[in-house]
């Protein structure tokens, strides 16, 4: 099995966010909100860090 770097980011973020959402909040509605928040942070944080590394290199 082979996946791209971005696929790996999306999968990792999805799985981790689901577990964080379930375990870190008590109400189902808040679980979904926190899970979505974590997912966005993971994905956009990775994209931001990638651009930062690109800028440092160039």
């Amino acid at each position: 099995m082979t996946i791209t770097h971005f696929d790996a980011v999306l999968l990792f973020s999805l799985f981790t966010s689901i577990v964080f959402g379930i375990t870190q909040r008590a109400e189902p509605r808040m679980m979904v909100r926190f899970g979505a928040f974590c997912f966005a942070l993971f994905v956009f944080g990775t994209i931001a860090a990638s651009w930062l590394m690109w800028l440092i290199k160039h």
Binding site: M1, L11, F12, F15, V19, I22, T23
Partner: protein, 141 residues
């Protein structure tokens, strides 16, 4: 006075929780099989979601040719990764029994796979502790 107040606070939380042996059973079951702790507490959707999520994460890690760590290699990072792998409970045992995973990381995606397996274990520990908190009443619902 202070002790009485503390007791008054603790009594409802204790009453809401289950016996300590049940809480321990939930913790161990949740570690051995992802989501089993929540299933034992009747939290079906959470338990199934955790099971599917963590099994998928572990399986994708193996499919990406991730490494399964062994104990006692002497390298500190190997020991830490082994501790993470061990968090997957029975899946670590199955992976070792059937010789799944690679002995060495040779590709970039294999490195991702290794991290998937380690993080699946760490997340499973968080899930098991969450189930224990639900059983003791420390977490409301």
């Amino acid at each position: 006075m202070t002790t009485e107040m503390a007791n008054n606070v603790q009594v409802p939380a204790r009453a809401a929780g289950r016996s300590s042996s049940m809480a321990l059973l939930v913790l161990i079951a949740g570690w051995l099989v992802p989501g089993a702790g929540h299933l034992l507490l009747g939290k079906w959707i959470r338990g199934l979601l955790l099971f599917v999520t963590l099994v998928l994460m572990f399986s994708i890690g193996i499919a990406l040719r991730g490494k399964i760590y062994s104990p006692n290699t002497g390298d500190l990072l190997d020991i830490l990764n082994f501790a993470g792998d061990l968090g997957t409970g029975l899946f670590y045992v199955i992976a070792k029994m059937f010789d799944l995973g690679q002995a060495a990381i040779v590709t970039v995606t294999a490195d991702y796979g290794t991290k998937f397996v380690v993080v699946a274990g760490l997340l499973n520990i968080i899930a098991a502790v969450d189930a224990h908190s639900l059983a003791t009443g420390r977490k409301a619902s």
